[in-house]
């Protein structure tokens, strides 16, 4: 069995990378493998917004990640620098930056790039989804 780290470099809906990463993570877990962490970078941080309202007949990408985190305790990490640039803030970051609201979806947490490097060190395999 393999311990995977996953990097998602693209946002939801615009690009298939986050769908592929989700399907990969789900399939790996079903086969008994471990997902050490999913790290979201570049526009990938938009996968972690709690404000997405996709049409009813489409998949809900952020919710799908949240459910995966809830059911299998997958660690979903949004890069803080990338998230701040793109207006994805948790409660602490919102307060620190004088913003009135926050929008990190359930099951995601915000942290630094060190978490990506740590995933590279700890995982047996690091898989990158993006262009």
């Amino acid at each position: 069995l393999v311990k995977f780290g996953i990097l998602v470099n693209e946002g939801p809906y615009t690009h298939q990378a986050s769908d592929s990463a989700y399907e990969f993570a789900k399939a790996a877990i079903e086969k008994g493998h471990e997902i050490f962490r999913v790290f979201f970078y570049h526009d990938g941080v938009n996968n972690g917004t709690s404000l997405a309202v996709p049409p009813q007949d489409d998949r809900h990408i952020p919710n799908r990640w949240s459910e995966l985190a809830k059911e299998h305790s997958v660690d979903l990490v949004l890069c803080v620098a990338a998230a701040q640039r793109r207006g994805i803030l948790d409660e602490d970051e919102a307060k620190r930056n004088g913003k009135t609201s926050n929008n990190v979806a359930e099951g995601f947490r915000i942290s630094g790039l060190g978490q990506l490097i740590e995933a590279g060190i700890q995982a047996d395999r690091m898989v990158v989804f993006g262009d």
């Binding site: 990097l7 470099n9 970078y41 060190g114 490097i117 060190i121 990158v128």
Partner: protein, 139 residues
């Protein structure tokens, strides 16, 4: 791969996109600078349009973006001294090493002599270097 308790892995950062137009190059550089603190074995690759990231004399005044190219010359100070440039990528764009910044590092094992960080490699040689890595991040 083991150095006492500490695992040292070969990390490669592959830069394949032009410096401006998208944010990949800038955010990739941010990862590399953070990664330098982790005492891993780091290599950088510049291939495809990524070779433009190292062009000399960049001027971004009229596009309203920060010119972050001077940061590359500091990579040696971060102990990043293996920088691979793919020759075919230069050729395909009518470029040569003379068009790129000259990146150096100081070798602490050789009385701090200044040495070249840049290795010009063919596509075939680059494939071998990639094959030797533990972790490859592509931006």
């Amino acid at each position: 791969m083991e150095d006492g308790d500490q695992v040292i892995k070969k990390f490669m950062y592959m830069n394949r996109k032009a410096p401006y137009g998208t944010i990949y190059a800038l955010e990739s550089l941010e990862v590399v600078l953070i990664a330098a603190a982790f005492d891993q074995d780091v290599s950088l690759v510049f291939a495809d349009d990524g070779v433009y990231q190292l062009m000399k004399n960049q001027n971004t005044e009229e596009i309203g973006m920060k010119n972050f190219s001077p940061t590359y010359s500091a990579l040696g100070d971060y102990d990043i001294k293996k920088i691979y440039i793919e020759k075919e990528s230069l050729d395909e764009r009518g470029l040569s090493l003379d068009d790129l910044q000259d990146l150096k590092y100081e070798d602490e094992d050789d009385d701090w002599a200044e040495k070249d960080s840049i290795h010009l490699v063919s596509r075939e040689e680059l494939a071998e270097v990639i094959d030797q890595q533990d972790v490859v991040f592509s931006f």
